[in-house]
Every structure is written in C-alpha cells, then in structure tokens.
Amino acid sequence: MIDLSSKLEKLSLELVEKNAHLYKVTVKLENLESILLSFLNEFGYITLDSINCRDDLEEGLFTITYCLQTEKRDHVVMVQTSIDRENATLPSMHTLWPQAEIMEREMHEMFGVDFPTHPSLIDFALEYWEHMPPMRRDFDTLEFVNSMNPFRDQRGDNLDVKVEMKKRREEKKAAKLKAEQEAAAKLAAQEQQNPDSEAQNNE
C-alpha cells in the first residue's frame, strides 16, 4: 500500500487508511476522470465494485464513491468526490469499466444524477417515474405513499396499537356507561310517564 500512496503523492493526493483492507482517496470532480483512468491503467484496479451515492442534504452535495479492486482482490480503494446537489452531473465511466453503465443508470433513477455521456439512460427498476427521485432525502416517502396509496378506511392501521386499544376500551366503557345511563333514564322517564298517564286517566 506504501507503493500506491507514494504514487498518489506524485498526483498530490492523500491515501487514507480506513482499515487493513479499505483505503480512501478524495479527489476533485475535474480530476476524477483522469485519476480513475490512471487507477485502471497504471495501478491495475481492474474491477469497479460499485458506485455509491450519499445524499448530503445539509451541505447541498452528493458524495460519489467509486469502489475499486485489483486483480488480487485483497483490498478496496474508495475514490470519493463531491458534486453539486442541485445540478448533479457526472462523466460516465462506462468506457473504463463496462459495468458502470448499469450502476449509473440506477444512480440516475434513484438520485437524479445526470450522465451526459451515458449511452442508454433508460428506466432501470422503476417504470415511467414522474416524481422526485425516490432516494433523495428531501423525498417524503410517507407523504408520497399516503397520497398514492391511502390506507383502508375501515381500519386505522397507521395508528399505534396500544393507544388504539386503550381508546377502544375506553370507548366501549363509555358506551356501556352511556347505555346504562340511558336505560336508567328511560326507566325513570317511564316511571315519570306512568304517573302522568295515570293522572291523565284520572282527569
């Protein structure tokens, strides 16, 4: 690893060791393409494991991570860069690693990152998605779900069960109490009525 870090130092980059098998390099967006190219061609990182995207909503950034491996498969180097969240555009890496094509398609669909040089930026898992990309943190899943798929009217499944049971028990108790009261009131009313009728009869 000393080897790689010395090579990277020539490019004025710092290799951060996360653990024995995981290293991180942070690069600027404008250098990304050339550095990835040198990772592939000069340092022998022939495998692109994944491209990850992290939504840093607070800083207004997307943090993109390219996970790379050599032929030996003994460690992973994460090449990290940040892009603007509002105008998220990245160069496509499918010319370096063909598997990047499908990973970038997924990223485009889930985060709305645009790849101008990508050959086939079509639907990946979703079909005809018209809303905000669902993995963005400002996408309110609950609100979206409730607007698209309301719960069943008959059952309040979105309520807390304990509270609900307590409420129901109380409701039941109240209903029972009310019924008893009503019954008593009725009885009383009958008792009241009877003398009246008698009184009427008497009249």
């Binding site: 996408f139 899943t141 779900v145 309301p150």
Partner: protein, 211 residues
C-alpha cells in the same frame, strides 16, 4: 375500453329466452351443474409476485398435491380460471398483473397470498409497492399469513370452490360492473401508462382506425 372486455351478457339473453319457453327451471339446474364442474376444475396461472412464490411448488407437488382437488397449473392466462398473486406487488408488477388478469377468460378468480396485498404488509411505506390490491383488481379470496403455509393455500382453494359451487357473485362480475372505478384507480397509480392501449386498429387504419 380495453380489448379484454366483452360487455354483452349472453347469459341474461339466454335466460330470457328460456323463461319465455318455460324452461327456466331446466336452466337453473344446468347452471348448478355447470357451477359444480367449474368448482371441480380450476386451472391456475401462478404469478409469483413476491415471497409467496416459494409456497406454490409444495402446494402443487407431492407433499400437498392440489391436483387431487382438480387444481392444476397452466402456463398461459388464456387457459386459466384462477390467478394466484403471491405477495407484495410493485407498480411495475401491477401493470403486468392487470394485463394478465384481463387476458384471462371469464369466469375468472383471484387468490392472493400473504398480508401485503391486503394492506401493504411490511412494505406499507415503500414508495414502489401498492397497499390495497382490491382497488385495482377484484380479489376473491385472501389467504393471510406471512407467508401462508400450503395448508392455508389449500383452504383458500376449498373456500373458492365452495363459492363457485354456490354460484356466488365473483370478483370478475364486480370488475365488469365497476369498471370505471377500477380503471380510475389503476390510472392513478400507474400514471396514465396503462397497457394495453388497443383503441386503434392497426389493420384498419384507412377506416379511421376504429376497431
């Protein structure tokens, strides 16, 4: 109007004719007999939408042997009487399920497995699955459980057979009667991209393309 829909009700016209000739009683007996045969022979297209797909092989093979009740699997929706939807449905799946359901020939029935088609189950707050299946297509029997064991699935079959035998009103009749309700709901979640859109007849384009 979808091409899978054939509105005219032949049954009622036949009934009228028979009643006129004083044979309504025979018709009723015939109908009963046919219902019995329908209940004894159910061709299933098993649509493995979710985790429940794994419960269907044991249901149909040696251990639980659904064939002894006349329940047999077929490959195409054209031949099927019953579609089993086994688990949660993503919007993408729902589009195919509606298409498959509309390609089935009447009378047709729907059985769903698990709690997801009832209320979304553990995927209730997912941005990509539906919560209430019966908003989009009518469901005849819900078999609950997460997932239901093959015994429960067979119990679902028995329940469905009872209903067919008694000539109860089934889901497909509700679907035909409340078509607008179902279509509106489907349009709401599928965003106007409902297939199939066969309004124009490609083969009669010079006649204005009316099918």
């Amino acid at each position: 109007m979808e091409s899978g829909f054939h509105g005219s009700d032949l049954d009622s016209s036949l009934k009228c004719k028979l009643e006129e000739s004083g044979m309504a009683n025979t018709h009723a007996i015939m109908e009963k007999a046919v219902n019995w045969f329908r209940s004894r022979s159910i061709f299933v297209v098993a649509y493995g939408t979710g985790c429940g797909a794994i419960e269907m092989p044991p249901t149909f093979t040696s251990r639980y042997d659904a064939e002894r009740m006349g329940v047999v699997g077929v490959a195409t929706p054209r031949q099927a009487d019953l579609i089993i939807l086994s688990g949660y449905l993503a919007y993408k799946t729902l589009r195919r399920v509606i298409r498959t359901y509309e390609q089935m020939q009447r009378p047709k029935y729907v059985i769903t497995l698990g709690s997801c088609p009832i209320n979304g189950g553990m995927y209730w707050d997912s941005y990509n699955t539906i919560k209430k299946l019966d908003d989009y297509i009518p469901v005849d029997v819900y078999v609950t459980g997460c997932m239901p064991r093959p015994e429960s699935v067979i119990e679902g079959f028995v329940l469905l057979q009872e209903r067919i035998k008694n000539g109860e009103k089934a889901g497909w009749q509700k679907y035909d009667e409340n078509l607008k309700f179902y279509k509106d709901n489907q349009k709401r979640v599928l965003g106007g991209h409902i297939d199939p859109s066969y309004e124009t007849d490609w083969y009669n384009l010079e006649n204005g393309g009316v099918a």
